[in-house]
């Protein structure tokens, strides 16, 4: 018996969700007719998408040509934002918002504060250098506030896509994610798009085994296991103190959510047939390879859009890399002149080395192209009387303002969200008004139906962003 447990197995395996599905007799993913449908509703279903880009931007090429008063119609787009031309009438370009700094490193405060509007802490951690600095945001992020007010309406209350991250100890979680389910409760996203696809779509349409004959047995097996896990979590919870109870309660919530998804007879969104990405998914690439970054950004984005189109979630975050990102952008126009230096290294020379300024501006434009692709793609999907973009509020933000690593005059862009009451085709510059970005977060929450006056720890004034909902 014990020998068996100690057997020196040579059986190495790399977990392959897709391989598992095939082994269990599931149909292959190919060969289905696209049949994308979106639930038609009397009032439009509203979605929220948070998009993150790191390391600040070159404001001279990001900012719309000067001289436009707040709320003015968009005139000419800047060099960086040129790709938004086809959806220009549906975006709001926002500059001049400040994020409050609380003594943390600005990359770190910006990462944790961008979507939470909250300080990083505790204080004792802030004085430590990066590798041992465990500071976290002291509040939940706006997407999670919305998600927690809409539990169970879709297959996933929210989804976190995360392209690129460190896992082996260079930086703590506080530098890796902007999404928080509560104070000091960071949510790290999934960085493997193949895993993400299978997780989202198992049992949807013809994907996976959930709906097959084999599926009945598998569902029974998973039900028995998840029920047991839930029973044990519940029993344990009663024997522990408040801090530990919170952890197990959260764990139990996740188990219940997984059970609803994998076990319950009716799978929400199951009628959708997500086959449009078969080719990209079949051409599997190493997710963390620098050179695969463009392909990973695109694949994560495509999967996210598919999840929206199938109405499997209405709230998601697309986090492109993380604070202090070290991606080497060889593929942009000035990539060959990058000299082997990465995004963050260049960002420190943003105003002193001309080649870096140019390269950084090209990086910004590359990111803008990705967000514009998302917006345009959603605008091509009819959703009731409007387009999916009209019913989706995309917000694109950055953890710092520019290479100088400041938190004032932060660049934001809102795309779509007509259904949310977001301004369409407008430019807003809040420079000189001491307006904190918390008020934008309030507007995002209000747009999604929350009754909010303030959000996060950073805003003494109340209300949404002037000119917004």
């Amino acid at each position: 018996m014990r020998q068996a447990l100690h057997r020196s197995s040579q059986a190495r395996f790399r977990v392959k969700r897709r391989a598992l599905l095939a082994a269990l007799g599931a149909s292959s993913l190919g060969g289905f007719l696209p049949r994308l449908g979106i639930a038609q509703a009397a009032t439009p279903i509203k979605r929220l998408v948070l998009v993150f880009q790191p390391n600040g931007v070159i404001m001279d090429t990001w900012r719309p040509p000067s001289g436009t008063p707040a709320g003015a119609p968009i005139g000419q787009l800047s060099r960086t934002l040129a790709a938004f031309e086809p959806v220009k009438s549906k975006i709001a370009v926002i500059t001049g918002l400040d994020q409050r700094s609380y003594g943390a490193d600005n990359h770190q405060q910006g990462m944790g504060g961008l979507w939470t509007g909250s300080r990083m802490g505790p204080e004792s951690e802030l004085s430590k250098p990066a590798p041992e600095n465990g500071a976290l945001a002291d509040g939940m992020s706006i997407d999670q506030a919305v998600a927690q007010a809409n539990v169970g309406k879709t297959r996933f209350d929210s989804l976190q896509f995360q392209v690129d991250r460190l896992t082996t100890g260079g930086l703590g979680p506080g530098w890796m994610t902007g999404i928080y389910s509560g104070p000091s409760q960071p949510i790290l996203g999934e960085n493997n798009p193949y895993e993400m696809f299978d997780r989202i779509f198992e049992g949807v349409g013809s994907v996976g085994v959930g709906m097959s004959d084999q599926g009945a047995q598998l569902r029974a097996e998973r039900k028995s296991v998840l029920d047991r896990v839930a029973t044990e979590l519940t029993a344990l919870t009663g024997t522990l103190g408040a801090t530990d109870r919170l952890k197990l309660d959260q764990h139990l919530t996740h188990v219940r959510s997984i059970e609803r998804r994998l076990v319950d007879g009716s799978v929400m969104g199951a009628s959708c047939e997500p086959t449009s990405l078969d080719a990209a998914l079949a051409d599997e690439k190493e997710p963390l390879d620098n050179d695969n970054y463009p392909a990973m950004v695109r694949l994560h984005t495509d999967i996210a859009m598919l999840a929206l189109r199938c109405d499997l979630t209405r709230i998601l975050s697309l986090q492109f890399s993380f604070s202090v990102s070290g991606i080497n952008f060889k593929w942009v126009e000035s990539g060959s002149s990058g000299g082997g230096r990465d995004h963050h290294e260049h960002s420190h020379d943003w105003d002193t080395v001309e080649a870096s300024t140019t390269h950084l501006s090209d990086i910004d434009r590359w990111y803008a192209d990705q967000v514009a692709y998302l917006a345009q793609s959603l605008d091509a999907v009819q959703d009731g009387e409007a387009t999916l973009l009209d019913n989706t509020c995309i917000v694109w933000g950055n953890e710092i303002a520019r290479g100088g690593h400041t938190l004032d005059d932060m660049p934001f862009l809102v795309a779509g969200g007509a259904a949310h009451g977001m301004p369409q085709g407008k430019v807003f510059d809040f420079q000189g008004t001491d307006t904190l970005h918390n008020r934008l977060l309030v507007s995002l929450g209000r747009g999604m139906g929350l009754e909010l006056d303030r959000f996060g720890t950073g805003d003494e004034s109340s209300g949404g962003l002037p000119g917004f909902v």
């Binding site: 977990v15 260079g170 530990d244």
Partner: protein, 572 residues
């Protein structure tokens, strides 16, 4: 050299030291009053106060905690429920069913100081789903040869019952209760619907690996008493296995727990000694050191491939393995001393690293002697030197800061944001030292960088991937430095001609040995030491000193400390 009685200079020197002094004022109270256990409520005011907000305990603990003795030091601090780290999960699964799970299948860990620990944040839904899927995969692989796994001749319900009992005891780190045995038997019966017996066992394995009793290190005993209470044998066993093997208790350790042997200090010592002699210990203690120096990050460290084409995934994996194998070697075949880790003129190499070191490596790898003048232990290995460098050039800041953090427990704050643009660009025809001269010239930077840069400059004899070099851009490397102690924090200030001279001095430094012991405390307890821990720390320091710096003795001392063996419930 710091001393217990400090000068005014120290009081204003830095925030960190001031905090330490405030803590010091309470320390006597902690060790005399508390901790008899007679009236725990009386000392609640010191509970949770950080003992060493930054820095090693050093003289405070050595001098003030003299009143500590076995009878009067049953101290404990609330330990939050700890979810397994990625390494603990992977190694536990390996030990339980012989299956290798790739580390990248699990989400990144949280941190306590320099070490991985999942004690704060709740688990994410992505990870819970990942646990489920990974458990299903492990169960599939582990039951390929189901009779080997169960070990019984007949594939029947009796066999399943005995498997549930014995396997469950390993996975849960305690015997199953009757209702649990019944529940998992029911799961077995669901599982036989697919592939019969094998399917049943497979489902049991998959279920147990998703149990909170596996995924968390559950400690319920502290909830049963008002004050500090000794953890039960199984809870001590789980801590011990985590500390020494990064895994789950083996059968012998569980037997010791069941027999009551782990209720005594002698019993814990005996099991700690047994575990320290296992091959898993060398590897797990190696992993402590790779986290301590952040060499753990080398596999995700990128270099400019046009300058360093040899920087491949294979080489990075070999660099991580070097540090962990070297530590295992010193502990298993060497003298087991901390000083050897810092000064050894040898390492343990994979052939992939031969070009970096410029040496011949035996086929399959192994111990290699290195030039005494070129290499001196862990801090001159590829992992540390490459992680603490930029993609194209070295980083005296990262290396100096890394040395001060890991060895002296000095945590200097990040640079002010306004002065963030500090890293000089590569400029040809200049040495790194010249490029960084601005740090000491600019008063805004000098305050910290006069401490950071010298221990960084001493590593200028190594390029960004850790190759030894005597010149940079045709200019001879100047590795001579003066280490200063302007804030009265360290005892190894002085002039050093090269890195070996510094590390040989550091290996004898009390600042450094005290810090090293504190790092082990953080790692073992997954929390910062607080005032209540003063006596535990004092015992650790005494054991370490008494054995002339044997790492095994330090690990045994933390395992037998009150902080490790006792628990207290969370203040409600």
């Amino acid at each position: 050299m710091q001393s217990l009685i400090r000068t005014d200079k120290t009081l204003v020197a830095s925030r960190q030291r001031s905090s330490a002094l405030i803590a010091l004022g309470l320390l006597g109270l902690a060790c005399r009053g508390e901790i008899s256990g007679a009236d725990p409520a009386a000392v609640d005011d010191v509970n949770g106060v950080p003992l060493v907000p930054s820095g090693a305990p050093t003289d405070e603990v050595r001098s003030v905690a003299e009143t500590c003795n076995a009878a009067a030091s049953a101290s404990a601090e609330f330990a939050p429920l700890a979810r397994l780290t990625r390494r603990e999960y992977v190694r536990s699964v390996k030990d339980l069913v012989g299956v290798d799970v790739p580390l990248e299948n699990l989400q990144p860990d949280g941190i306590v100081g320099l070490f991985f620990a999942n004690v704060g944040a709740s688990v994410s839904e992505t990870q819970v789903d990942g646990y489920r899927e990974t458990a299903e995969q492990i169960a599939e692989a582990a039951t390929q040869d189901v009779s080997a796994l169960t070990g019984c001749p007949n594939a029947d319900e009796t066999c399943a019952g005995s498997f549930i009992q014995s396997f469950g005891r390993r996975v849960f780190r305690r015997p199953l209760r009757g209702d649990e045995q019944a529940a998992y038997s029911e799961i077995y019966r669901v599982g036989i619907g697919r592939e019969g017996f094998r399917g049943g066992i497979r489902l049991v394995v998959a279920a147990m690996l998703q149990s909170p009793w596996f995924l968390y290190r559950v400690e319920q005993t502290p909830r049963t008493a008002a004050g500090p209470v000794q953890l039960n044998g199984f809870e001590v066993a789980a801590r011990l296995a985590s500390l020494i093997t990064s895994s789950t208790p083996d059968a012998a350790l569980l037997d010791a727990a069941e027999s009551g042997a782990l209720d005594t200090e002698a019993g814990v010592t005996a099991q700690a000694d047994r575990l320290l002699a296992t091959p898993q210990a060398g590897s797990a203690l190696g992993a402590f050191h790779s986290e301590w120096l952040k060499v753990s990050g080398v596999t995700e460290t990128e270099k400019d491939l046009s300058a360093f084409p040899m920087w491949t995934s294979e080489l990075k994996a070999a660099a991580l393995a070097e540090t962990e194998r070297f530590v295992g070697y010193v502990l298993g075949q060497g003298d087991g001393k901390f000083s050897t880790l810092l000064t050894a003129p040898f390492t343990v190499l994979d052939p992939a690293l031969a070009p970096i070191y410029g040496v011949t490596v035996p086929a399959g790898g192994g111990r290699v002697d290195l030039p005494l003048a070129e290499r001196s232990g862990l801090f001159t290995q590829i992992g540390f030197l490459a992680v603490k460098a930029h993609k194209q050039q070295t980083s005296p800041v990262r290396r100096g800061l890394g040395l001060l953090q890991s060895l002296a427990c000095i945590s200097l704050p990040p640079p002010p944001n306004a002065a963030a643009a500090v890293e000089p660009s590569t400029v040809t025809n200049a040495t790194t030292r010249e490029r960084f001269a601005a740090h000491s010239a600019n008063p805004a930077c000098a305050g910290c960088h006069v401490k950071i840069d010298p221990p960084g400059f001493i590593f200028e004899s190594y390029d960004a991937v850790g190759r030894y070099r005597s010149s940079e851009n045709g200019v001879p490397v100047d590795s001579q430095v003066t280490i200063v102690d302007k804030d009265d924090e360290i005892d190894f200030e002085g002039d050093y001609p090269n890195v070996r001279a510094l590390l040989e001095r550091v290996a004898q430094s009390q600042t450094v040995t005290d810090c090293y012991a504190t790092q082990w405390f953080r790692y073992a307890l997954k929390r910062e030491p607080v005032l209540r821990d003063a006596c535990s720390l004092k015992r650790m320091l005494a054991a370490f000193d008494g054995s002339q710096g044997k790492i095994g003795d330090l690990v045994r001392a933390v395992a037998t400390s009150d902080a490790f063996r006792f628990g207290v419930k969370e203040a409600e």
